[in-house]
């Protein structure tokens, strides 16, 4: 039975007039979405990408990039990279230990489900509230500090480091460790107990097992996780800005400062150049990460 033979069906389908080009208008359904993301995602991205090459008068310039060599931007870049490396490595190490503690327990146990879902929440928990949480606990008026002080320990004897980079690193660990658990747990789950038994039946001890079997298998995914944690810390803004309101030590704060400075010197082109610098670093790290992911997939 052909469609043409039944006029009722034909009108119901409603396309006889369009004939051969019956699918030609379907793409209209995607237009609202594409227009929206075009306006509010792709346009701002293009503004950042292209705008860095123009000065306030709208003429082409490379000055914005040249300004990246200003000493305070170079310092912020180095500080942010060190901060991200430190929190990524420590976060990965501690998160790795926590993952190992989880994975050695019951796979469907309450403890595991609790830690995994808590990690899901805490990895996203950042910003103003997180900064407040640390100020309220170990800050100069926090009960941990007051308690320590009452017992003769003054950990701010050499200055209140909570409001400087070391403090920020500690605060970042609060979301870096849970992120590591989320990232690394699937890799650890892929380790088979038979491998250990095999190593032992060949006469290997615990050290041999980790050095020659589990270590090499887990290393790419561990390194990949470190890169992910790096990118995570590197692009963070809210936590840093809520905790440290003087000096803008972090690169993302420098962007904010160049965009709408409280002291007056507004340099939108320069803000775009810093943004590009940030994107370049994050992109390099992300590419390395996906390369490592591919390598990990071979074994796990």
């Amino acid at each position: 039975m052909t469609i043409a033979g039944s006029p009722a069906v034909a009108t119901n389908v409603g396309r006889p007039l369009v004939g051969g080009r019956r699918f030609s208008l379907d793409w209209l359904g995607a237009v609202p979405f594409l227009v929206y993301v075009g306006l509010f995602l792709l346009l701002p991205s293009a503004i950042v990408g292209l705008g860095a090459f123009f000065n306030a008068d709208g003429s082409f310039t490379l000055d914005n990039y040249a300004h990246l060599s200003r000493s305070y931007v170079v310092k912020a870049t180095i500080d942010t990279i060190s901060l991200s490396v430190v929190t990524a490595v420590i976060g990965a190490a501690l998160g790795g230990l926590l993952s190992y503690a989880i994975v050695t327990g019951s796979p469907n146990g309450l403890l595991r489900r609790l830690v995994v879902s808590a990690s899901g929440v805490l990895a996203q928990f950042g910003g103003v509230t997180l900064a407040f949480a640390f100020i309220a606990s170990i800050g100069p008026a926090g009960f941990v500090y007051l308690f320590a002080q009452a017992h003769g320990v003054d950990y701010y004897a050499h200055g209140i480091w909570l409001f400087e980079l070391p403090g920020l690193a500690l605060v970042y660990l609060y979301f870096q460790i849970p992120l590591m658990v989320l990232v690394f747990l699937p890799a650890l789950d892929g380790i088979k107990p038979q491998w250990r038994e095999a190593a032992e039946s060949l006469g290997g001890n615990t050290w041999h097992y980790w050095r020659h079997v589990a270590g090499p298998i887990l290393f790419p995914s561990f390194l990949g996780a470190v890169l992910l944690l790096f990118a995570n810390a590197f692009s963070a803004y809210a936590t840093a800005n809520a905790l440290i309101n003087q000096g803008q030590p972090v690169l993302s704060q420098q962007i904010g400062g160049a965009l709408s400075s409280e002291v007056g010197a507004v340099e939108p082109g320069f803000a775009k150049a810093i943004a590009i610098e940030m994107i370049v670093i994050v992109t390099i790290v992300t590419i390395l990460y996906s390369l490592l992911q591919r390598r990990t997939a071979r074994w796990l």
Binding site: F23, D26, W27, G29, A30, P32, F33, V37, L39, F40, L41, P44, S45, A46, V48, L98, A101, T104, V115, S117, V121, A123, Q124, G126, G127, V128, T129, L130, F132, A133, F134, I135, A136, S137, I138, A141, G142, F143, Y172, L173, F175, L179, L182, V183, P186, T206, L228, A231, S235, Y237, A238, T239, A242, I255, G256, S260, A271, K272, A275, M278
Partner: protein, 291 residues
Amino acid sequence: MAVATRSVQRTRWIKLQVFRYITFAAAAVFFLVPIGAMLEFSTRGNTGERTLAYWQSIFSYPDLIDFNFGPAPDAAINASLELALITSVVMLVLLVPTMVWVRLKLPHLSRLVEFICLLPLTIPAIVLVVGLFPMYIWLGTNLSDSILTLAFAYVVLVLPYCYRALDAGLGGIDVKTLSEAARSLGASWFAVMWRVIVPNISNAILNATLLSVALVLGEYTIANNLLYNNLQVELVHLGRANAGVSIAVAVASLLFAFLLLVLLAFIGGRPRRARPEAATALAGPLAASQT
């Protein structure tokens, strides 16, 4: 021999358990003390006594909260709540029909739509805000400088999370068969969407909505740099003047967000695809909207 092996195994097991419980205990201290400390701090009076004075004075800050839930909110909490509502609605109206339509009619676009939706994960919010800045100056002079215009940017911010939630929901039903069945019974496309698809993915829609509400209420980076006072920006301002009140509000908003997430965990009771889910969850925090 067998006995010796067993005792080696036994000591190893004990060592392992000791290691595990020390690790869990340390993690519990590190992650719970700061949250508990906020509660303690917000209920501590000047002389160290317990008081609810900070909590009670929340309503005496008109910049923080008032009773104007109209189209021009002038208090931060009201603005954030309205933004959460607008963002969720716009997100759903934009995303659900598009995703269904792409599955039905434009399967060759599905890769592109996925790529676009996940793109905000790779662009840090602070970078996006640099591009949005001139756009919002234009919006402010030509259209409206209301804080509610932030919803335009927030829809983009929540896009990846909501896309994943909705994609999981749509993946669980046979969109094509359902809609063909409905169409052959004479349903309009609107009826297909509203009476067939939406009821079938109600869990996913609720998930996406809760996620976007939680994200919008926690958003700081974009609002702060576009010079709007939403909840988080106001908390920082307030924190410099009166830390107690501002931490009390932070605890309240945290409890609210936590409630949403618990709801989400209960609603999403269906077992999820473990690996791909975890793999995509990784990219999540890269958006750094919260961090």
